[in-house]
Assembly symmetry: C2
DNA sequence: CCGCATCCTATGAGATACTG
DNA sequence: CAGTATCTCATAGGATGCGG
């Protein structure tokens, strides 16, 4: 590696690279959200994966979890300062992907065609 | 998803999120590199994983592969225009990770400690 | 409503051995 | 030198059911 132990880059890669974190962060960038709200805003995510995604974000100090001891229980999630800062990087990722989407798709088609006569 | 099929974001996440692509791209940002050179510059990568990483980058049009029909064979890899553009995003990722490394590590320790008395 | 526990499968990735 | 071919293992993530 360019530097031993990856300088903490691995941790960020793991978040940005997994299936749901980017989507959840995008939704949380809109403000405070409840668990069920997030599950509705991120179609396809299971309860299990939403829980895991939020726990990991919470553990890294990117999201706060607030429990209101009501019946039924109510839990709110919100980006921390660091979490809001992360949205900048997420935007950069999404923007880059959209900007080069066509180019990459074309390259891929050309490559596959060259290998499949 | 915010948009169906992830708008191509998934493809970029897969590259940035895997174990070796970022390291290989960083080394290629320094200019043309041979296969064996990359294997030396990216400690720990196996022949197999270097091959896979380079093939995926080539398929997406991010890297060119030039074979010189010499004996022994010589193959050179180089970033394309799109590939060089990708290094900007990679830098952003690395910079963000370094900038928040300490904060994240602290949050993680605090979280783990709260759960392990 | 929110979330944990369990089971299961698909994929990423390491180790190793072999070739033009 | 620059790969390909297998094998194996660890982990991400889906499905489902229970519990406070």
């Amino acid at each position: 590696m360019s530097c031993a132990e990856d300088c903490g880059v691995r941790d960020v890669q793991d978040r940005l690279g997994d299936k749901w974190t980017v989507h959840v962060v995008v939704e949380l960038s809109g403000g405070v959200r409840r668990f069920s709200e997030l599950q509705r805003l991120v179609p396809g995510i299971s309860q299990r994966m939403l829980t895991l995604t939020l726990r990991r974000l919470e553990r890294d100090g990117l999201v706060t979890r607030t429990v209101y001891p009501t019946v039924p229980p109510q839990v709110e999630y919100e980006l921390t300062a660091t979490g809001r800062d992360l949205t900048g990087l997420v935007r950069a990722l999404v923007d880059w992907s959209l900007a080069h989407r066509g180019t990459i798709a074309d390259a891929r088609r050309a490559y596959d065609e060259r290998r499949r006569p």
